[in-house]
């Protein structure tokens, strides 16, 4: 084992470098950016990263299985358009929870269809995932724009925005903590002194992260995902239903993309076919920065969380420093390459 020490060291390093990098970013922006390290701003980062992170959860599974899903951005858009259409079609006076659930059910239901098609074609017809999901990228994009008539669909429903922008708790110095709504009787300018705690998108994302982590780490499905990514032939010979798992994986990826689309509806009170366009590459970047290998077999949900946070902190920090936003692309690009270099160094030392 002593001969394995450099490999071991490299493995450890590759596991924790993203944590260290995130920590360094937080320290750097805290020291240089006015208001970066505040409850308000840190929660804003959490709320803003939620959509990206949710989309990255399904992608993590797919990438661990040695696949890739390029369609998630426009599946999210399609789901958000479908969700918006369903919610606005409900008769006036429908209770808000029912409206929200309808949006969720329709968005998710519509979003799962491209995932099912992706999975079936990849599993049964053995077409590479890259090609199939690239095709679905175009199909979902076109479908989303055709359905919405090329324009964002506003969802002007009283109270819907509060689901996407509200907080689980509110704190007002003289009245203490209140649940879901600002304390009664606090109005006008006083509202500015109310502190929101735990934005809903963040809570939503945390719940999904925990569920995804459990699924990957402790379920048979998670283990089989690693096995398929590590050695598909071995998985087949071990009697794992690889085709069925593959279909489930692409449905999972489309499912989390659809959930991201529905959250977008609630947060921005509209549905847009291109709402996830910029998020596809960022979500794949989050997965890769988090230590997943594009060759499959490796990756964790915690890693993906760290990867998404790195991207979100860079974006937020550069805005606070007043740096031209185009630098965000450059910075995230540099981190992706850095992540792959760390991964390669690990492989080299290991062999």
């Amino acid at each position: 084992m002593s001969g394995n020490n450099p490999a071991h060291l490299m493995r450890t390093l590759s596991r924790i470098w993203a944590w260290l990098f995130l920590l360094a970013l937080v320290i750097f922006f805290s020291l240089t950016g006015e208001g970066f390290f505040s409850l308000f701003n840190l929660q804003a980062i959490g709320a803003n990263v939620a959509i990206l992170l949710i989309m990255a959860l399904g992608q993590t599974f797919v990438i661990i299985s040695a696949g890739i899903d390029l369609s998630t951005g426009f599946v999210m858009g399609l789901a958000s358009v479908a969700g918006a259409m369903a919610m606005t079609a409900l008769p006036p006076g429908t209770p808000l929870p029912l409206i929200a659930l309808t949006g969720l059910a329709v968005g998710l239901g519509v979003g799962l269809i491209p995932g099912l098609v992706n999975g079936l074609i990849i599993a049964k017809l053995k077409v590479p995932a890259f090609i199939v999901t690239l095709g679905m990228f175009g199909i979902a994009r076109g479908a989303g724009f055709l359905l919405s008539g090329g324009m964002p669909l506003p969802v002007s429903i009283q109270g819907l925005g509060r689901i996407g922008n509200g907080y689980l708790f509110y704190y007002y110095p003289s009245q203490g903590l209140s649940f879901l709504n600002p304390p009664a009787g606090v109005t006008g300018v006083e509202l500015r002194q109310v502190t929101g705690i735990l934005p809903h998108p963040l809570t939503f994302a945390v719940i999904l992260v925990l569920a995804a982590h459990w699924l990957l780490k402790h379920s048979r499905f998670g283990l089989h995902t690693y096995a398929i990514g590590g050695n598909q032939e071995a998985a087949i010979r071990a009697g794992i239903p690889v085709d069925r798992r593959t279909v489930a994986l692409y449905m999972l990826s489309a499912g989390t993309a659809a959930l991201a689309g529905v959250l977008y509806n609630m947060r921005f009170t509209n549905g847009a076919a291109n709402s996830g366009e910029a998020l596809l590459l960022d979500s794949i970047a989050a997965v890769v920065i988090g230590g997943a290998s594009l060759f499959g077999g490796e990756g964790t949900i915690i890693g993906t969380v760290i990867g998404a946070l790195i991207i979100a902190v860079i974006q937020n920090g550069l805005v606070i420093l007043g740096i031209n936003p185009f630098w965000q692309f450059v910075a995230v690009g540099v981190v992706i390459i850095l992540a792959v270099l760390v991964d390669q160094a690990k492989e080299q030392v290991a062999s």
């Binding site: 379920s219 283990l223 050695n231 071995a234 010979r237 009697g239």
Partner: protein, 256 residues
């Protein structure tokens, strides 16, 4: 040793299109014994065991397991009988640890859906222990970190964990160095000493004479001889492999 064989093949044949890979072969494997299967390249050894494993079912002939006539159509039916095969390309998932590999596809589950890691680890350790596989430091290390011999041991342990009665190994030492070959041969011997029937395919007669109780020689898809290892010599076996008498002249074998 007048015991009844655990596995007995009578007159099995298999052809791939015009290639007659096996022609009316008889074969037997006995509990508590290592049966070596030898023959030149293309003699039909792998085809014979793939028939037993249900990968390429035989075209004709009879298969008896535990005295009962059986039909093995696919690998699952073979497993159900207690037949496990360790293929030369081991089919381990390098990124998974030893426990996960040993249980792959047959994981133990706790309560509704949770993998029962503790129970699997316990059973894996027990199995490795019972086979005296002691060189593996931790059953939680990825198999990528293991040596070739250790990986082979894991593949064998995986095969015997499922109450298997017959374990078939196709060239398990072909890619191994001296010390690791030693490890695996010891393991093969121990399987038989534990009462399993073992079939060992190998091109290395030295290894075979070390662990085998009997030796079946295949030549050009036919079996030419079965030896008791203790009663024969290298020379005799080599002669059978290269020039053993065929009951059917190849040119006279009907094709397809």
């Amino acid at each position: 040793m007048a015991q009844e064989p655990l596995l007995q093949l009578k007159g099995v044949s298999k052809s791939f299109g015009a290639v007659q890979a096996l022609y009316r072969v008889d074969f037997a494997a006995y509990r508590g014994e290592v049966m070596a299967l030898v023959g030149d390249n293309g003699a039909g050894k792998s085809t014979l065991i793939k028939g037993v494993a249900g990968i390429y079912p035989f075209d004709e002939g009879e298969v008896y397991f535990d005295g009962q006539p059986v039909q093995i159509h696919n690998p699952r039916e073979a497993s159900a009988l207690g037949i496990e095969v360790v293929y030369q390309d081991l089919a381990l998932a390098d990124n998974l640890d030893v426990v996960a590999n040993m249980f792959l596809g047959r994981e133990m589950i706790q309560k509704p859906w949770r993998l029962d890691e503790a129970a699997m680890e316990r059973k894996a350790l027990e199995t490795l222990d019972s086979l005296a596989v002691t060189t593996i430091r931790s059953v939680r290390q990825p198999v990528a970190e293991l040596s070739g011999g250790q990986r082979q041991s894991i593949a064998v342990a995986k095969a015997v964990m499922w109450n298997s009665k017959l374990v078939i190994l196709d060239e398990p030492t072909a890619a191994l160095g001296v010390a690791q070959t030693r490890q695996v041969l010891d393991l093969v011997r121990r399987l038989a000493d534990n009462g399993l029937a073992v079939v060992l395919i190998s091109h290395n007669l030295h290894d075979i004479f070390e662990v085998a109780d009997r030796i079946t020689v295949l030549r050009l898809g036919q079996n030419v001889k079965e030896f008791i290892a203790a009663d024969t010599t290298h020379e005799e076996v080599v002669h059978a492999i290269t020039a053993g008498a065929l009951r059917h002249v190849p040119g006279m074998v009907k094709n397809g």
